[in-house]
Symmetry: C2
Subunit: 209 residues, 2 copies
DNA sequence: GCCTTTATAGCACGATCGAGCTAAATTCGT
DNA sequence: ACGAATTTAGCTCGATCGTGCTATAAAGGC
C-alpha cells in the first residue's frame, strides 16, 4: 500500500489552504477546486479527506477555533509561569490583549474569525462553532473580571455580567475595526484603549444610575 | 411610449430585494436572478436599470448608507426640536443609541451593514462606501463627545480621539454581537452598557497612566 | 507476481451564474 | 396606423461549482 499520510495532518494542511484563499479573496472563493490548487493537490485528493464541501468548511472553522484557544492558553500559561504573584492588572491587560490583532499573525486570525463568524449567520452548520468561539471569549473575560474583583482590583459593586458584555463588545469591536479599517485602528491605539478601559473599570464607582 | 417608471424608484425597489435576499440567505445569494425573482421582475428588467451585477451591489450599499444617514439625521433633528436645551447627557445617549440595533428595523439594517462592510474587505468597488459609513459614525461620535466636553459634561482632559475610537468600537462591537448572538445581547443590555459607558466617561479623571 | 489497502486523479453531469445580445411589448404623440 | 421611446423579457454562451463515480497509481506483505 502507498506511503501512509497522516489524515489529520493532511486535513490541517488543506484547512490552511482554505484560510489563505479566504483571507485573500473571501470565503466564497474557497471552492474545492481553488482550495485544492492552493494546497498543491488534485481535487480528488482533497475529496479523499473530506466527504463534501461542508465537511471542509466545518473542519476549517473548527481548526481556527482550536488555534485561537491554544494560543490564548499558551499565553496565559506563560503569564502565570513568569510571575504567579505579579502585577495583576498588567497581567489581565496582557491576557486580554491577546484577543486583539496586534501583529500580523493575529491579524490574519482576526480576518478569518470575522469571515467565518459572519458566514455562520446564514450557515446553520457553522453556527455551533461560532457560538463556541464566542463562549470561549466571554468565559475568559468573565474570569478575568471576577478574579480582578476577588483580589480587590475592581470595586466590589462592579456588575460582572454587564462589564463582560461591555468588554467583549469593545474587544470584538476593535478587532472588527482593525480588520476593516487598519489605517484607522493601529496596534498602539488598541493597546491604549484597552489600558484606559481597564483603568476606568478599576476605579471606585457607584452602581449604574 | 410605455408608462414611465421612475428609474430611481425602480432602482430602490430592486435594492430592497437585494436587502431581503442578503439578510435572509447571505450576500452571495443576491444573484441577479434571485434578486429579480424577489423583486417580482424578469432579469431583463433588472438589467435595464443596472449595467451589471457590480453596479447593483454598489447601488444597494449606497442606498443602505443613505438610509442610515437619513434615519440618524431625522432622529437628531427630533431630539433638538423636542428640547434644544434639554438634558444633554440623555440626548447624547439617545442619539448614540440610534446606532444600536434596538428594534427590528434597526436590527435588519445592522445585519445589512455587517454583510456589506465585511464583503467590502475583498471587494474594492465597495471599499469606499464602507469607509464612508465608518467615517460617518466616527464623525458623529466625535461631535457628541466634543460637544459634551464643551458644555462641561465631560472632563476637560478627556482624550477625544481615543474616546471616539473606544466608543465607536463599543457601538460596533455591540452591534456585531447583537447580529451574531441575539440571545446574548438584548436591547436592554445594550442600552445599559451605553448608559454605563457614558456615565463613566463623564466622571472626573486623570489622563491615561 | 498477486493481492490488498491507501492515496491520487479527474471525467462527467446538472446546477447556477453573469453578461452579450436580440426581440417583443407598451404607450403616447402625430 | 405609424414611429419613437421606454420598458419588459429571456435565449444563449462560457465559466464555475459541487458531487457521483470510476480509474489508476503506489507500496508493502506474502
Amino acid at each position: 500500500m502507498p506511503k501512509i499520510v497522516d489524515p489529520e495532518e493532511r486535513r490541517r494542511a488543506v484547512a490552511e489552504a482554505v484560510f489563505r484563499v479566504s483571507a485573500r479573496d473571501g470565503l466564497e472563493h474557497a471552492s474545492l477546486r481553488n482550495v485544492a490548487e492552493e494546497a498543491g493537490l488534485a481535487i480528488g485528493s482533497v475529496r479523499h479527506y473530506f466527504s463534501d464541501h461542508n465537511d471542509l468548511m466545518i473542519f476549517a472553522m473548527r481548526e481556527l477555533g482550536r488555534r485561537v484557544r491554544l494560543r490564548i492558553q499558551a499565553h496565559a500559561d506563560r503569564l502565570l509561569a513568569s510571575d504567579p504573584e505579579g502585577d495583576r492588572r498588567a497581567m489581565a491587560e496582557q491576557l486580554l490583549a491577546e484577543f486583539l490583532p496586534l501583529d500580523d499573525a493575529r491579524r490574519e486570525e482576526a480576518v478569518l474569525w470575522l469571515t467565518f463568524t459572519t458566514a455562520a449567520r446564514t450557515r446553520p452548520e457553522l453556527r455551533p462553532l461560532a457560538d463556541e468561539m464566542d463562549d470561549g471569549v466571554r468565559a475568559i473575560v468573565r474570569r478575568v473580571l471576577r478574579e480582578a474583583r476577588r483580589v480587590g482590583g475592581l470595586p466590589g459593586a462592579v456588575d460582572i455580567p454587564l462589564q463582560t458584555l461591555r468588554l467583549t463588545a469593545l474587544l470584538d469591536g476593535l478587532t472588527l475595526h482593525a480588520v476593516l479599517y487598519p489605517e484607522r485602528v493601529t496596534p498602539q491605539s488598541m493597546r491604549k484603549v484597552l489600558r484606559q478601559h481597564l483603568a476606568e473599570l478599576a476605579r471606585p464607582t457607584s452602581p449604574t444610575p
